[in-house]
Amino acid sequence: MGTEASAAGVFSAAVRPVTLSVNGADRELRIAPWTTLLDGLREYLGLTGTKKGCDHGQCGACTVLVDGVRINSCLTLAVMHEGATIRTIEGIGAEGALHPLQQAFIDHDAFQCGYCTPGQICSATGLIAEGRARTPEEIRELMSGNLCRCGAYPNIVAAIEHAMRVAETAP
């Protein structure tokens, strides 16, 4: 573990250290307190898999898992998560192997341009862990925070439904 983020470009003296456990590794950032978790990940840790679709909590492209719970990373500040466990799209699926959800997205052709996809997958991971959705209608409703302008919804829902069943039957 080292100090990764140069405070490049932060001209104010208000830089603060924060340590996050990101995808299994402790990372220390030195950032201005008003930096969102999303910008912290993208601009300071170089984890550009998490996308910015609106920066206002209205599209879900920036969804990540914080201590296992899905949140919009654009709506929260990085410094609020000292010590938290963050999982981003880069931490889903093992090296060289896809997570069952990722595989289901392939099998069901559940995306087109791929821009909303990291957020969809993180959100669906959180959804499955919540165990609240049972039917396709519930999946639709509980995935409504994640916009897809390519309109891949029918296949996204099918992929999640499939992955949910796989998760249920797993030992």
């Binding site: 490049a8 470009g9 932060v10 001209f11 201005a32 993208r42 601009e43 170089g46 984890l47 550009t48 898999g49 998490t50 996308k51 910015k52 679709g53 609106c54 920066d55 206002h56 209205q58 599209c59 492209a61 981003t88 799209i89 880069e90 889903i92 699926g93 896809l98 990722q102 997205f105 392939i106 099998d107 052709d109 995306f111 087109q112 341009c113 791929g114 821009y115 909303c116 996809t117 990291p118 997958i121 209608e137 999946i139 639709r140 409703e141 995935m143 409504s144 925070g145 994640n146 916009l147 897809c148 302008r149 390519c150 309109g151 891949a152 919804y153 029918p154 296949n155 996204i156 829902v157």
Partner: protein
Amino acid sequence: MTTFGLAQPVRRVEDPRLLKGEGRYTDDIQPAGQLRGVVVRSPYAAARITGIRTEEALKVPGVAAVYTGADLKTDGIGGLPCLVPMTNRDGSHRANVPHPVLADGAVRHVGDPVAFVVAETVEAARDAAELIEIDYDGLSAVTDPEAALKADAPLVWPDVSGNQVFDWEIGDRAKTEALFAQAARVTKLRIVNNRVVVASMEARAALAEYDASSGRWTLSTNTQGGWLLKDQIGPEVFHVEADKFRVITPDVGGGFGMKLFLYAEHVLTCYAARKLGRPVKWTSDRSEAFLCDTHGRDNVTEGEIATDADGRFLALRTRNIANMGAYLSNFGPYIPTFAGTGVLASVYGFQSVYANVVGVFTNTVPVDAYRGAGRPESNYLVERLIDETARALGIDRVELRRRNMVLPTQMPHQTPVGKTYDSGDFLRVLDAGLARFDWAGFDARRAQAAARGKLLGRGLSYYLEATGGAPSERAEIRFADDGFVDVYVGTQSTGQGHETAYVQLTADRLGVDGSRVRIRQGDTDTIPVGGGTGGARSLYSEGQAILATAATVIEKGKRAASEMLEAAPADIAFAAGRFSIVGTDRGVDILTLAAEQHRAIREGREGTILDTAEVAKVDAHTFPNGCHLAEVEVDPDTGHIEVVRYVVSDDVGKAINPLIVRGQVHGGVAQGIGQAVFEHTVFDPDSGQLLSGSFMDYALPRAGDLPDIDVDLVEVPCATNPLGVKGAGEAGAVGSPPAVMNAILDALSSRGVLQLDMPATPARVWEALQAAPRAA
């Protein structure tokens, strides 16, 4: 090739990368030393600028520069061109106005760029932007296209009288009038085709780098084809050859037409990169994307159909007022005219069609191509009008369509607006759709809905689309040293899954395994020409180029194999990836042969390089068509609408990859349902402010808003290209708005509501129900 064969639902090759967060979109590229740009935009819809002061902004730590229109003028930077020549009805030319990159003393819509701030960070640039003082002298604005044509309307451009950009026509007016004069019945309809914000999930971005020693720029940006940018920004804007620009297109997060064009921010980043000698990146934020990406649609149209005593269509007459916004975007005037009117005759046997289109300036964001580009607007009008005609004549709407459809025996069919349909079996596609939808079982479903207090309606549309785009396309096949086959293409995927279809085609023709084929796109240096992607042209144009190139590769391969195997070229046959001497088992596979030839050349021996580039001419349009069927449930108490059943019966010609075709149709239908039911672009009529400028105010369809979409493919091969494909990228967005609106009106007509414009929001539906005279 079993794993990558044609007509197979092959999984997309782009998938694993994009699924693991390894996609590389423009904003993900972060070169060392990059500066960030922020555009200062007009808060006024119409104003004169009487002064700009930048001194305070320049003092902000980290700010490298602030540019205004005056700087661009000093450096001789040109404006953004409109690429559409057009002649008015009276023989004069359309209005032509400048489109400065930064305001030239006036602003003409909210969001019009005024200054460009470049700094070490976005935050510093934003801080500085707030300190720029701009004196505006506010003027009256007009945003509605019909209002803009009124005599007392404020003028967007002082020297364009009546705000009229063009007054254009197509079709035989005299013949049309004569048919109307002898008609047994004429039905009329006036409809609004609502303005739509494109809102690709990835906003636009541009990263420019300038190399002073070579005088060349590298512009990385999310486009639908970099060639169109380079050909404009070089000669027209910077007054240098186009080849001074290398345009690289990384992964693109959706385009839908909107990312085809040259925009101010492309110029600004390139300008600043040259001035400052460092990479300069601009990434749109969502709020400004609403104000600086071209919008779509925005037409007010009157249509009339003349029918004879048997309900046969004689003629169609339309008058369309098309909002162009405050400036003419690259193809703005093309969309409602050349593109849109070409499909007005649709699948029906009209004897004559006449269309008049008037383009109008308003103080709004410029309008240009959006998925379908003019074709959805025309299909919407025709299909709404046919339902209206059916109601007026008392003929069943399915029967009325049937009676007027062009038959397969009449192909090729020449339409009154100059198109020649090569193929089509409209009745068969219609019947397949009706059966799949269970059109006949509607009454029972309606009774069930009624028991729950809901109004059920069913609607259909039969659409026809004419694909378009650049008239040629290029492909190059190179055998790489690592044993892969690289295919360089001139189209640009923005999420359509072309890569996969191209791999399938190449693998099929060269007889190699699909896993050995790589598709290369998006770099104007390695690919000298390309038509980009737009008008659903990619598969049929690039597909033809790949076929032509593969054929030449095989010809060259036969020569090389004949040398290698010491046989006459005429005795060499090619099959399943192998060149062999006819009647023997001696042969060589194509990858080995290509590698051997490369080695020979490298070692100074003679050899035949198999690598080849070919340009295929694409001179015939294709005409995808199909039937959309929708069922909607209306809650009469709230006006809420739910689309509960949706079937598409589609003829996209041969489907190279049905999986991808279905995905494209889903996406198009989602956007069409969005336009019909949710998406409402609202400008304040007085101030010209965009009131629907965020995802909270502008409703994109969400997962819970859409039904399952059942897509049935009825293949009627296209007769004018060897693949038989017709194109699938736009079709879903063409057929869906009329199907949904016809269903909504079917539900509401029982309560006396006979006309409603898109979007059918709950408030509008509820108001219409309140205002309607209660029918029995």
